[in-house]
Symmetry: C2
């Protein structure tokens, strides 16, 4: 069993109004050292697969079909092996 | 200059309706190997500080004051040194 740690970020060329808003708020709070803010998503998905390649294939498809918008977002992920609670793998 | 890669996640005991919705959607798309989904935030903040300890201190306060809700969320971050565009550090 694997846990996929998925990072979904806006492509560098895409405008990020949420990031700009966060940066403005940081400046208002006195954090004038904040130069640039980009906001993305961080998803943790437990994948019930014994084989790393199978899990990788599955998570790539999850990202392409649901978790990321390929027009404006990039994604990457790490797979971490976790012990299976049921004892089977 | 440093880039802070900040992960904000719901505390393990807090219910995650967004994660449950994503998991239901994954199952509907045929990804029956998705066992658990948690949704968090991933923020990239460029911090204009020459000193790593200063940057760390600053980012910790940003998280505590704005980026994470300490009642229901945990945060952690990595600091990556990046070249300063202006040539000063």
């Amino acid at each position: 069993m694997f846990q996929a740690q998925i990072f979904v970020t806006l492509k560098p060329t895409v405008n990020d109004p949420q990031g700009l808003t966060v940066m403005a708020s940081l400046h208002r709070l006195g954090f004038n050292n904040a130069d640039d803010v980009r906001v993305g998503k961080y998803l943790l998905v437990d994948v019930n697969e014994a084989d790393r390649a199978e899990a990788e294939h599955s998570v790539t498809h999850m990202c392409e079909q649901l978790l990321a918008n390929p027009v404006i977002e990039d994604f990457r992920f790490d797979l971490v092996e976790i012990p299976n609670a049921t004892g089977t793998s």
